[in-house]
């Protein structure tokens, strides 16, 4: 009982070349992120508002010098955290919940290539954020200094640390729990991580602990370089590297795809 077909669906299987798959995946992930209102609120609106508000209104004592010189590095750190940690955790948590990760796992795209694409998408978003925030900071009278290489290293290690923690959360908790926890952590680290409130406003004992948080290491490191023109902030880089290794390692070990 063979019916002759038209040949439209005749098998012709094959995976697309890897670079094309990764580029397509990264483009789609970025598009999904930029289309999502809540994500934009987190990654663009909140950092921009905080930068403009606290630079122009004297609410927090940011020490000597222009407020924007203190705030800009902290806001850049916040931008990295909002994308690599909060945004990525929430998006990935819901992708897991809605079977997107599961469906992609049976497509020709290898898992490592999916994670690569996610990283590319995070980096592209960060570049857009940094360009936007830098332009605004300059308009507010920002005068950065320091070694660009040190800045780049801090941003990359910060991204790695936050990505690991975000993926760990997304791959182990329920999507709703991830949503709530990621937002809560965002707010706690925004307040207690030296982003807009200098760490030396906290009691001495708390400062030591808070200083070990990835957000504090990133904002403190960026501030040392960009505001004070310090050399390589090895201590902060070290803290971020430890978080990156622990976070990515745990995510790799405990991440559940469905």
């Amino acid at each position: 009982m063979t019916t002759a077909g038209t040949g439209t669906y005749s098998p012709k299987p094959g995976a697309a070349p890897l670079p094309r798959m990764i580029a397509a995946q990264a483009a789609l992930e970025t598009k999904m992120l930029l289309r999502n209102g809540e994500q934009l609120l987190l990654t663009v609106v909140i950092p921009t508002l905080l930068l403009v508000l606290f630079s122009s209104v004297d609410i927090v004592d940011t020490g000597a010098g222009e407020a924007v010189d203190f705030l800009a590095p902290g806001i850049l750190a916040l931008a990295v955290m909002s994308t690599a940690f909060t945004g990525q955790a929430i998006a990935t948590g819901f992708e897991r919940r809605y079977g997107v990760l599961k469906r992609l796992a049976s497509s020709p795209l290898p898992r490592w290539a999916l994670m690569t694409a996610k990283t590319v998408s995070v980096l592209v978003t960060e570049v857009l954020q940094i360009v936007l925030l830098t332009v605004i900071a300059f308009a507010l009278g920002w005068s950065p200094q320091g070694n660009p290489l040190a800045v780049l290293l801090l941003l990359i290690l910060g991204t790695a640390a936050f990505s690991g923690l975000g993926l760990l959360m997304a791959g182990t908790l329920k999507a709703e729990a991830t949503l709530a926890a990621a937002n809560l952590v965002f707010i706690l680290l925004l307040v207690g991580g030296g982003v807009i409130v200098p760490l030396d406003k906290f009691p001495a004992g708390a400062q030591d602990v808070l200083g070990l948080l990835p957000i504090s290491a990133l904002s403190d490191g960026l501030r040392d370089v960009v505001q004070h023109g310090a050399g390589m902030p090895w201590g902060d880089l070290g803290i971020l590297a430890v978080w990156a290794v622990v976070g990515l390692g745990a995510a790799g070990r405990f991440f559940r795809w469905e």
Binding site: M1, T2, T3, A4, G5, T6, G7, T8, Y9, S10, P11, K12, P13, G14, A15, A16, P17, R20, M21, A24, Q25, L28, K31, M32, R35, N36, F94, E95, Y98, G99, V100, K102, R103, A105, S106, S107, P108, L109, P110, E258
Partner: protein, 307 residues
């Protein structure tokens, strides 16, 4: 055209905690359309997801297109198409966007526009996935399973909850896939779906295959057909029985309602009607009931299929 099996499952066991979902299941599927039929919780999805490489067997072996779905996943994945029971799409993605994306992951995809047209997904427009109707979501998932021009397609309950028109569209596509040489494994709890589409049906219950064969074979095996007619009450059933072939039975179930059970063929029908003519009986209603897969299932398991 009996070639290499596309799927070969041997003594598959899969447990979730203390619950055994699949319990020593054997299944061989060859080219064509194979329906895996069974009630909810029978182990259909677990079996199929093991073939797709999502689950590792606790014991037993699984080969798909000759490959181990877990260890040779990289080689297998481009050659199969997968339709999950639900989900699988970014909630913020549009139908055409997601389909184009999956197409980009393959080397020689189908023409996406033609496929969108074919499955009536053009009307989705700029609507994102989460706002599509259930039927549109199902058809998108089906399109995603075939767009990469796979050799073998797994469809997990492809028409569950679809309206009749959408069901027919899905059936037509499955027939076209088969005609073009694509093998299809589909799970279903709809009898008519299996009868309409499948070359081969595997009936699963309690984590095992309890019967397998073509729909015709399954319906024939052990199962006889029924002829019913109504006439005036109190006819001489003994005389009717004498006129019938030896292996038939006849009875008056309720006054005026008669049933003949046996191999119902044109000859038997003629025998019954001529007996009626001889006895001056006008059969008011006469009907032939073919044994369906539903009856087969009921006999095999003592259960209704859609429980």
């Amino acid at each position: 055209m009996r070639t290499e099996p596309v799927v070969q499952v041997q003594a598959l066991v899969k447990r979730y905690g203390t619950k055994t979902a699949v319990n020593g299941l054997d299944l061989v599927a060859r080219a064509g359309v194979t329906a895996v039929l069974g009630p909810n919780g029978a182990g259909k999805t677990t079996t199929v997801e093991t073939c797709e490489g999502y689950r590792k067997p606790d014991s037993g072996s699984v080969r798909v297109l000759g490959l181990d779905p877990v260890r040779q996943s990289g080689e297998l994945r481009p050659r199969i198409g997968v339709m999950l029971q639900s989900g699988g799409v970014y909630s913020g993605a549009r139908a055409d966007e997601m389909l184009r994306h999956v197409a980009k992951l393959h080397a020689h995809p189908l023409d996406v526009d033609a496929l969108i047209e074919r499955l009536g997904l053009g009307s989705c427009g700029r609507t994102t996935y989460r706002r599509l109707s259930g039927g549109q979501q199902q058809r998108l998932a089906l399109a995603m399973a075939v767009v990469g021009r796979p050799e073998l397609v797994f469809l997990d309950e492809p028409t569950a909850g679809l309206d009749p028109q959408a069901r027919r569209a899905t059936w037509d596509l499955v027939r076209d896939l088969r005609a073009d040489g694509v093998s299809v494994i589909l799970t279903t709890h709809y009898m008519d779906e299996a009868e309409q589409l499948a070359d081969d049906v595997a009936i699963i219950d309690g984590g095992r295959v309890i019967a397998q064969g073509s729909p015709e074979e399954l319906c024939r095996g052990g199962a006889e057909n029924t002829l019913r007619f109504t006439g005036r009450p109190g006819l001489d059933v003994g005389s009717l029985l004498k006129a019938l072939p030896a292996d038939c039975t006849a009875a008056e179930l309720t006054p005026g309602s008669y049933r003949v059970v046996g191999k119902v063929d044109p000859q038997l029908l003629a025998t019954v009607t001529s007996w009626c003519a001889q006895h001056g009986v006008m059969p008011e209603k006469i009907s032939v009931e073919r044994h369906t897969l539903e009856d087969v299932f009921l006999e095999l398991t003592g259960k209704e299929l859609r429980s």
